[in-house]
Symmetry: none
Subunit: 195 residues, 4 copies
Amino acid sequence: MTKGEETKQFIIERSAPIFNTKGIAATAMSDIMEATQLSKGSLYVHFENKEVLAASAIDYNMELLFTKVQTAVNQQRTAKDKLFAFVDALKDPLSPPVTGGCPMMNFGTEADDTNQLVKNKVNQAFDSGEQTIVNIIEQGIKDGSMNPDWNYREFAVMMFAMIEGGIVMSRVAGNIAKMNIITKNIKKMINEELL
Amino acid sequence: MTKGEETKQFIIERSAPIFNTKGIAATAMSDIMEATQLSKGSLYVHFENKEVLAASAIDYNMELLFTKVQTAVNQQRTAKDKLFAFVDALKDPLSPPVTGGCPMMNFGTEADDTNQLVKNKVNQAFDSGEQTIVNIIEQGIKDGSMNPDWNYREFAVMMFAMIEGGIVMSRVAGNIAKMNIITKNIKKMINEELL
Amino acid sequence: MTKGEETKQFIIERSAPIFNTKGIAATAMSDIMEATQLSKGSLYVHFENKEVLAASAIDYNMELLFTKVQTAVNQQRTAKDKLFAFVDALKDPLSPPVTGGCPMMNFGTEADDTNQLVKNKVNQAFDSGEQTIVNIIEQGIKDGSMNPDWNYREFAVMMFAMIEGGIVMSRVAGNIAKMNIITKNIKKMINEELL
Amino acid sequence: MTKGEETKQFIIERSAPIFNTKGIAATAMSDIMEATQLSKGSLYVHFENKEVLAASAIDYNMELLFTKVQTAVNQQRTAKDKLFAFVDALKDPLSPPVTGGCPMMNFGTEADDTNQLVKNKVNQAFDSGEQTIVNIIEQGIKDGSMNPDWNYREFAVMMFAMIEGGIVMSRVAGNIAKMNIITKNIKKMINEELL
DNA sequence: TATGAATGAGCCTTCATTCAT
DNA sequence: TATGAATGAAGGCTCATTCAT
């Protein structure tokens, strides 16, 4: 990695939590100057403009989240354990895997009406999160540990939507009571499809 | 209503969809000047500052949403029909009851880390949305149309979380495929508890 | 004139000589802040952006020049004296009627390749300067004091071009030797067409 | 020519038309980076700063113009043909010998109030252009083809001023109508002094 | 000689807010 | 109550220039 690439990556890593916490519009380049201790000009050496930097930070936040979830999933053997690991990785919205909460929710709600590029990024992330769930269940069905008649595609949508909704509700509440209910019930629904 | 109160209300009604669409940070007082065709000074006659105006607009958006949902619910007789009406009122996130999408999600994700006042407002709104569901089910149990052993409090949390998560996912996707799955399955879950 | 119009006019008057002296690109809004002792925001209350302000200043500079020349012309009776007054009004490029030199030359050379709007303004000014000369001569021919066979339309072009060229040459030289030669010869050419 | 000198010359050739088109103030070092495909640092290896580079580019533009005019002049034998060649070399300001128009007018109007160095360069160029005309006529008088009583020194000033003024007028007009009038009349004035 | 990362002053513009009228 | 002129801090961004490699 060249010096320039290193700096670029450094800027992304430092700005990502700021964008995820304050939002794109409320994050100023001066916030990033402070977080990186770099000059204004230097930021623009590596990023054309704030929009491009924000896009990189959004990618970074979502990839970081995915890596954390995927890592947790991969540490398990059975499909059930993998699914539970997925749920558990996101069970505490007050100590989220990524500072600032779920980047899909944060940037999705900020961008849905105004920023097609970000909207698309978030949409892909939602799809690939859902696909992760689908893949695990398909493995479980294949190895005979899960009910082959399960409408797992629809379950994946419901499960992911419930988690995402629960994250926002719990963050706003300042406690994870609702998230606990959701976590518990998702696990229950999974258990009902085990063979 | 005095002239002043009328103007104040007018400003709220015009600014509410803007805040809900662009977000608080990205909405400028000049946007509201344009939308109301009022002068800068006039806005400040009625609202101390942008924060106060935003708070009023947020309240308005959430009340409008509740009114619309409640109106749909009230048009039904049975608990089941009321619950279905609740779900149906929110089933199309691309043509939402309130311009800009769900205000709880929009302001909740923008404010969760940075604005305690808004955070509290949204939290209360989530609670009272959930309570609406709870009330309907309690009526259904009381009149004997719904399963008295149903853990309906937990169901209310799940149902509301699923809807909220589904709204964001569908808005970001630009289509309501996921929302349709969610709507269908929520109704299925309700049907399973009917007597 | 309202307060706003007064301020707007004041800004134009103060900025006009700066634009004419330094050029559009080299004039900063901060230069105009200093010259007007107004705040940055105040400047933008009256002018959408720098381009619009520059356009107003250019108009002002050219109108000021025309007024001065026209006033000098109008003080004379005969066509010959009017023509001489025109020439004399522009005979000293080091003490020009408008601070910074001829606005048509200044903005014309700055804008010819890059700014269609300004280019058009300047072109019209050149045409109307030429027309002034034409009008005077037509009066002279009509009243019998000037040669009716004179190709005065072509003379107007030559005379104006010579003056404009001479202005730049003399300003760059720092002395009006060349301009004196031009002034003298233009008058000689005029004298040759008197009856 | 060493590698360094070659690069230096290359930078001048590429930047000259940019400076002549946009002006000194409006030309950024980044414009020159793009035009040369050289790095920022490389530009500063060869030129102390933008001012020095601009000065070199100005020299280059004026020398290029002189070379083109002189070449045209030298292809003719008689004084009259030489003079006509001079005029014809500049007769189309929309397809000028040097991209961006007459460098003396461009840099003269930009620099007359603000940049003594450039002002002097332009003044010398005006003088030497005038001197070229003078030299041709003196040859014509010496060889008996031109009127020895001609006040040719004054004619040279007028002729050059007319051409320069005409260039700006025509560039701003977007057509060469006025320049055609000027060209025609200069030739007529020359013809009147032939023996 | 050539690179490109880094700088910080300065650019144009927008912002929320104040206040005399 | 309503206006709109005035403010100045802050916004995103560009600039000429430096310097280690």
